[in-house]
C-alpha cells in the first residue's frame, strides 16, 4: 500500500473528517514530516473512494460550526480492516528490521 492512502486511512481511524482537517491530522500524526497539498490529497482520496476503502460521511457537525461546502469522509468496513492488516504488516516489517539490528537515527538514541 502506498504511504498516502495509508495515512488517510489512519487519519480517519478516529472518525470522519473533511479535507483540510485530514491534512492537519496527517501533519500531526507524522510529527509535521508529511504536509499533504490539496492536489495530491484529493487524488489519493479519489482512489481510496474508488477502491471502497473510504466513503462520504452523511453525519455532519452542527451547521453553526461548519461550512456546507465541506465534504466529510469516513472509513468503510473494508477500509478499517485494510488499515488493520496494513498496520500489522508494517509492524512485522519493522519488528523484523529491528531484529536484524537495523536502526535509523532515532533508534540509536
Amino acid at each position: 500500500m502506498k504511504p498516502t492512502p495509508y495515512l488517510i486511512l489512519l487519519a480517519l481511524a478516529e472518525g470522519s473528517r473533511h479535507g483540510y482537517a485530514l491534512m492537519k491530522e496527517i501533519d500531526r500524526l507524522t510529527d509535521h514530516k508529511v504536509r499533504l497539498n490539496p492536489g495530491p490529497l484529493y487524488r489519493a482520496l479519489d482512489s481510496c473512494v474508488e477502491l471502497g476503502l473510504i466513503e462520504i460521511a452523511d453525519e455532519r457537525p452542527e451547521p453553526v460550526l461548519d461550512d456546507e461546502r465541506r465534504v466529510y469522509y469516513r472509513l468503510t468496513r473494508v477500509g478499517r480492516s485494510v488499515l488493520g492488516a496494513e498496520t500489522d504488516r508494517l509492524g512485522r516489517l519493522v519488528a523484523g528490521a529491528r531484529r536484524l539490528g537495523v536502526a535509523g537515527r532515532e533508534g540509536t538514541r
Binding site: 473533511h18 479535507g19 483540510y20 491534512m23 497539498n37 490539496p38 492536489g39 495530491p40 490529497l41 484529493y42 487524488r43 482520496l45 479519489d46 461550512d67 461546502r69 465541506r70 465534504v71
Partner: protein, 882 residues
C-alpha cells in the same frame, strides 16, 4: 488563481473535488497558510494522466508502450546531449545568448515576483476582498485621508452596509516591563477589530465586550514577535502584565505569527474602551467588513449618501461642503494602491524588453542555422527525418533559454535580496519573495519562449530543399541568402529603444547628481537622531517634560565624543514638524490671501549648532532665552525675504494663528532655507521657537520629541552611550527610531537613486541587445556574400570598400534607429521631466553623449564581423564555395 487551476482538472475529477479543493484553500487561508499552486498544477497533470489511463481501460502501460516511451526518451536525451555539445562548440553564442536571456528573464521574474506578492496575492485575512477602509476627505485642502471621529464610528457601526466595523488609533509606547525599556508601536482598537479581520489570537482570546467599555480593565493582545522577544514564547505569558508608558496591561491573547494590522511591526493591541460613547476628535481610522451581498455600486451610492449626512451632521459651511466627501476604499487598495501604477508600468516594460531579447535571440538562431544548412543537409541525406531535425533545433533553443531562465532566476533571487537594501518603501515588503508559482512560471515561460522563437528558425530549416543545398554547395549558395526585413526592423526598434533608455538613464543619473548637490540647509554627516516618547503618565505637565529634557541634554552633552546635542520637535526629512500658520504684526492681509503656512519647530538652544544651520543674520537662541524673557523666533531666509524684502526682518513680530490672545514672537535671527519635506521640492518656510518658551504657552512640548546629537565621528558609535545616558536620567525612557541623519538623507534620495539604477540597467541591456542585433545583421550579410567578397578581393578590392559594402545595411539601420529613438525620446520628454530635477528632459549634452556612446557600440558590433569578412582568403572562399 486557485479557481483557474481547479478549472484545469479533468471534468470528472473537477466535479467531484473542485469545490472541496477550493474549500481546502479557504480553510488553509483562515489558518494563515497558503496553498501551493505548484502542487495543484502537478496534480492537474497527474489527474489527466490517470484519466487517460482510465479511458484506455485502466491498462497499465504494457511492454510496447514502455518501449516506445523509452525510445522517445532516448532520443530526447540524445537531442539534449547534442544541443549541449553544439553549444559547447560555440561558446561565443552561448556566452552571448544565455546572459542576454538571463538578464531579461531575471528582470522579468524579479519584478514579476514583486507584482505577484504585492499586488496579486490576497491580504492575509480570510475573505479579505470584503475588507474596506472608510475615510473623510477634504478635496483641495487635504487630499489625503482624514481620520474619523468616534461619533462617525458609532454611526457606521449601525449601518447595514457592513457586517462589522472597527475603529482604531495608532500609538507609540515605551514598553517598560523588565530591564530595558523598549519603544513599541501599538494600536488601541474597538473589540470588533479581530472579528472584522477574521483573525483570532493564536493563544488566548481577543477583547471581551466588558473590556471594551469606558473604564474597563486594562488588557492587551500582543504580537507573536513581542511574545517570543519579551516572554520567551511561554504560554504562561497569558495573565502576565505588560507595562506601556508605565501603565500595566494584562495580556489576554497572542496573535499568530505574521499578523500585522494596521501595519507590519505593530506589537500591542489594547481595547479602545469606547463602548457606545461618541466624540468629535478626528483620531480614529476605520476598517470594516462589507456584507456579502454588497456590490461596489452600493458602496458608491452609500458614500455619497453619507457625505450628505455628515455635511448636515457636522454643520459644514456651504463653501467647504463641496470639498467634503466620505471615501470608502478596499483595504487591498489602501495598502498597495499607491504603488500599483509604477509596479505595473515597470513590469510591462520589463516584459517588453524580454520579448525583444527573445526575438533577438531568434534572429541570431536563424543566422546560425543558415550557416548550418550544410550540416542539416548531410544529416537529412543520411536518413534523418525532417521532424527529427526540427526537434533538434527546438531542443537547442529550448535548452539555451532554460539555461537562461535558470540563470535569470538566480538573478531575480539576487534582485529580491538587494531589494531591502535599495531602501524603497514598498508595502507588504516582508511578503516579497520568489514564490513557487513565480519559479514555475519563469522556467515554463522561458522554455515556451525558447520553443516559440526556436520554431521560427526550425520552420525555416524545413522550409527549404535540403538536398538542393547539398548539391548547390555551401551556405553561400543561391537562394539561401536574401535580406530578411523582419530582422532589419528588429534592429531599428532595438536601437531606438536603446537610444530612449540611454538618454533617459543619462538624464536620471545627472538629475540624481543634482539632487545630491542640493544645499539641504544643514549638514547631516555625524548627526545621530533618535526619538523619545514622554508619556503623560510619567510627565504629566509641560514643566515635567522641560525638566526631563534639560537633564537629558546636560547628560548627553557631557558624554565623551559628543560635540553638541539638541532637542527638536521634528527633524528635516525625518519627522515632519507641526504645520501652522502665521500672522504678521502691522501687516494688512490682502483679501483672499491664503494662510501663511510654516513648519513650526520647537528647538533647544543648541539645535542650530548641532544640525549646522547657516545663520544669515541676527542671532541664534541662547540659554538666556527662557520662559521669563521676551518670546523670540527664528525664521528661514525665503520667508524673511518674502515679507521683508529689504532685510528688515529683525525685530519684527509674528504670531501663530491659534494663540488667543495673540502671543507675539520677536524675530531675532534668520537662517538659511531648509529642505524639510523632501530634497527635490522647494524649501519649506520654517519658524523656530525655543521649546522653553513654547512649553509655557499652550503649545507645549509634544510627547514625541527628537534628540539630535552631533559626534566627532560618524555618530553611529554614540548610540550605546547616549541610550545609557538617557536611561540614567529616566529609566523608563528609551531611544526609538535611531538613525544617522546621513542615512535619513540617503533614504530621501532612495527613489531617484533606484530609478537611475534601474533605467541604467535597462539601458545596458538594450544597448547589448542592439549590439547583438547589428552584429547579427552584419555577420549575416558577410556570410551570404562570402563568394562575392572572395571574388572582389581576388579582383583587388581594397579592404575598405569591402568593409563599406558589408556594413552599409547596418549603418542604414543604425541611423534609422537613432533618429527614431531621438524622436521617441522627445515624445517621452514631458513624462520623463516629472522625474527630473535640475535638468531639462531635452538636455543637449546628455543627448549627444548618449547617442555618441550608442553609435560607438553599434559601430564596434558591426566592425567585428565586417573585419572578419575583409580577411577572407579569396582562394579558400572560392574553393569552399565549390
Amino acid at each position: 488563481m486557485q479557481r483557474a487551476i481547479v478549472a484545469l482538472f479533468p471534468p470528472r475529477f473537477r466535479k467531484l473535488y473542485g469545490g472541496q479543493i477550493l474549500q481546502f484553500a479557504r480553510d488553509a487561508r483562515a489558518d494563515g497558510r497558503s496553498t501551493s499552486f505548484v502542487s495543484l498544477l502537478g496534480a492537474v497533470v497527474a489527474a489527466w494522466a490517470a484519466e487517460a489511463r482510465r479511458l484506455v481501460g485502466g491498462r497499465r502501460p504494457g511492454l510496447e508502450h514502455r518501449a516506445a516511451r523509452s525510445r522517445w526518451f532516448a532520443t530526447s536525451v540524445q537531442d539534449v546531449r547534442g544541443a549541449a555539445r553544439y553549444l559547447r562548440r560555440q561558446p561565443l553564442l552561448a556566452l552571448l545568448v544565455a546572459p542576454t536571456l538571463a538578464l531579461a528573464i531575471g528582470a522579468a521574474a524579479g519584478t514579476g515576483a514583486v507584482v505577484e506578492s504585492v499586488l496579486l496575492r490576497p491580504l492575509p485575512f480570510p475573505d479579505s476582498d470584503r475588507l474596506v477602509m472608510v475615510w473623510d476627505q477634504f478635496r483641495g485642502i487635504n487630499d489625503d485621508e482624514v481620520e474619523l471621529t468616534a461619533d462617525q464610528y458609532q454611526t457606521y457601526r449601525q449601518d447595514p452596509l457592513f457586517e462589522a466595523v472597527a475603529a482604531y488609533r495608532r500609538y507609540n509606547w515605551n514598553l517598560t516591563t523588565g530591564a530595558d525599556p523598549e519603544p513599541v508601536t501599538g494600536v488601541s482598537a474597538t473589540g470588533s477589530l479581530f472579528g472584522v479581520l477574521r483573525r483570532a489570537p493564536a493563544l488566548g482570546r481577543g477583547f471581551s465586550p466588558s473590556e471594551d467599555l469606558p473604564g474597563g480593565p486594562r488588557v492587551a493582545v500582543i504580537s507573536d514577535g513581542l511574545w517570543s522577544r519579551r516572554f520567551g514564547g511561554r504560554a504562561s505569558a497569558l495573565g502576565e502584565s505588560v507595562a506601556l508608558d508605565g501603565e500595566p496591561y494584562t495580556i489576554v491573547g497572542v496573535m499568530p505569527r505574521g499578523f500585522g494590522f494596521p501595519a507590519e511591526g505593530v506589537d500591542v493591541w489594547v481595547p479602545a474602551r469606547l463602548g457606545d460613547t461618541g466624540g468629535s476628535q478626528r483620531i480614529f481610522e476605520i476598517v470594516a467588513r462589507l456584507r456579502d451581498d454588497v456590490t461596489s455600486a452600493d458602496t458608491a451610492s452609500w458614500a455619497s449618501r453619507m457625505t450628505g449626512h455628515f455635511v448636515d451632521a457636522f454643520g459644514i459651511p456651504a463653501d467647504y461642503a463641496a470639498m467634503y466627501a466620505v471615501r470608502i476604499v478596499s483595504l487591498h487598495e489602501q495598502v498597495v494602491g499607491r504603488v500599483r501604477p509604477a509596479l505595473l508600468a515597470f513590469f510591462g516594460s520589463v516584459c517588453l524588453l524580454l520579448l525583444i531579447a527573445a526575438a533577438n535571440v531568434a534572429g541570431l538562431t536563424v543566422l546560425r542555422n543558415d550557416a548550418r544548412r550544410h550540416e542539416f543537409a548531410v544529416r537529412a541525406s543520411m536518413g534523418a527525418g525532417r521532424a527529427r531535425i526540427v526537434r533538434q533545433v527546438l531542443t537547442e533553443n529550448t535548452l539555451l533559454s532554460v539555461v537562461g531562465g535558470v540563470l535569470g532566476l538566480g538573478l531575480a533571487w539576487l534582485l529580491l535580496h538587494v531589494l531591502p537594501a535599495l531602501d524603497v518603501s514598498l508595502p507588504r515588503a516582508t511578503d516579497v519573495g520568489l514564490s513557487a508559482t513565480t519559479i514555475v512560471v519563469t522556467v515554463l515561460g522561458s522554455a515556451v519562449i525558447g520553443a516559440m522563437f526556436g520554431a521560427v528558425p526550425a520552420w525555416r530549416v524545413t522550409g527549404c530543399d535540403l538536398r538542393g543545398v547539398l548539391t548547390e554547395g555551401g551556405p553561400a549558395g543561391r537562394g539561401t541568402g536574401g535580406q530578411r526585413p523582419y530582422r532589419g526592423l528588429l534592429v531599428v526598434v532595438e536601437i531606438a529603444l536603446a537610444t530612449v533608455l540611454l538618454v533617459g538613464a543619462g538624464l536620471l543619473v545627472r538629475s540624481f547628481i543634482n539632487l545630491q548637490q542640493v544645499d539641504l540647509g544643514f549638514r547631516p554627516d555625524g548627526v545621530l537622531a533618535a526619538d523619545l516618547y514622554l508619556p503623560a503618565s510619567r510627565f504629566p505637565t509641560g514643566d515635567d517634560r522641560v525638566r526631563f529634557v534639560d537633564e537629558a541634554l546636560r547628560a548627553v552633552v557631557a558624554l565623551p565624543g559628543v560635540e553638541s546635542a539638541a532637542i527638536v520637535s521634528g527633524l528635516p526629512l525625518r519627522s515632519p514638524g507641526q504645520r501652522d500658520s502665521l500672522t504678521i504684526e502691522h501687516r494688512q492681509k490682502p483679501a483672499g490671501e491664503p494662510p501663511i503656512h510654516v513648519e513650526l519647530q520647537l528647538v533647544s538652544a543648541g539645535y542650530f549648532t548641532t544640525l549646522a544651520h547657516d545663520l544669515r543674520s541676527g542671532r541664534l537662541f541662547t540659554s538666556n532665552d527662557t520662559a521669563a524673557t521676551e518670546p523670540v523666533a527664528i525664521v528661514t531666509e525665503t520667508l524673511a525675504r518674502r515679507f521683508w524684502p529689504d532685510g528688515a526682518a529683525m525685530g519684527r513680530r509674528v504670531a501663530l494663528a491659534g494663540t488667543r490672545p495673540r502671543r507675539w514672537l520677536t524675530i531675532v535671527g534668520v537662517v538659511g532655507d531648509v529642505r524639510a519635506q523632501n530634497v527635490a521640492g522647494p524649501p519649506a518656510d520654517a519658524l523656530f521657537v525655543p521649546y522653553v518658551q513654547a512649553a509655557s504657552s499652550e503649545r507645549s512640548l509634544p510627547r514625541r520629541i527628537t534628540l539630535a546629537v552631533r559626534g566627532a565621528g560618524s555618530g553611529g558609535d554614540l548610540v550605546g552611550i547616549v541610550s545609557r545616558a538617557i536611561r540614567g536620567v529616566d529609566s523608563g525612557t528609551a531611544l526609538a527610531d535611531v538613525a544617522l541623519m546621513r542615512a535619513v538623507v540617503d533614504h530621501a534620495l532612495a527613489r531617484p537613486r533606484l530609478a537611475s539604477w534601474l533605467v541604467g540597467a535597462f539601458a545596458a541591456v538594450a544597448v547589448l541587445l542592439s549590439a547583438l542585433g547589428v552584429y547579427g545583421v552584419v555577420s549575416h550579410t558577410a556570410a551570404t556574400r562570402t563568394r562575392e567578397i572572395g571574388i572582389r578581393v581576388a579582383l583587388g578590392a581594397r579592404p575598405r570598400s569591402v568593409l563599406r559594402a558589408v556594413t552599409a545595411r547596418a549603418a542604414w539601420l543604425g541611423a534609422s534607429g537613432l533618429v527614431l529613438g531621438v524622436v521617441a525620446g522627445a515624445a517621452a520628454g514631458p513624462v520623463l521631466s516629472r522625474f527630473l530635477f535640475g535638468i531639462s528632459a531635452f538636455d543637449g549634452t546628455t543627448l549627444v553623449v548618449a547617442t555618441a556612446a550608442l553609435m560607438g557600440v553599434v559601430a564596434l558590433a558591426a566592425f567585428v564581423p565586417a573585419r572578419r569578412a575583409c580577411r577572407i582568403d579569396p582562394v579558400r572562399a572560392m574553393r569552399h564555395d565549390g
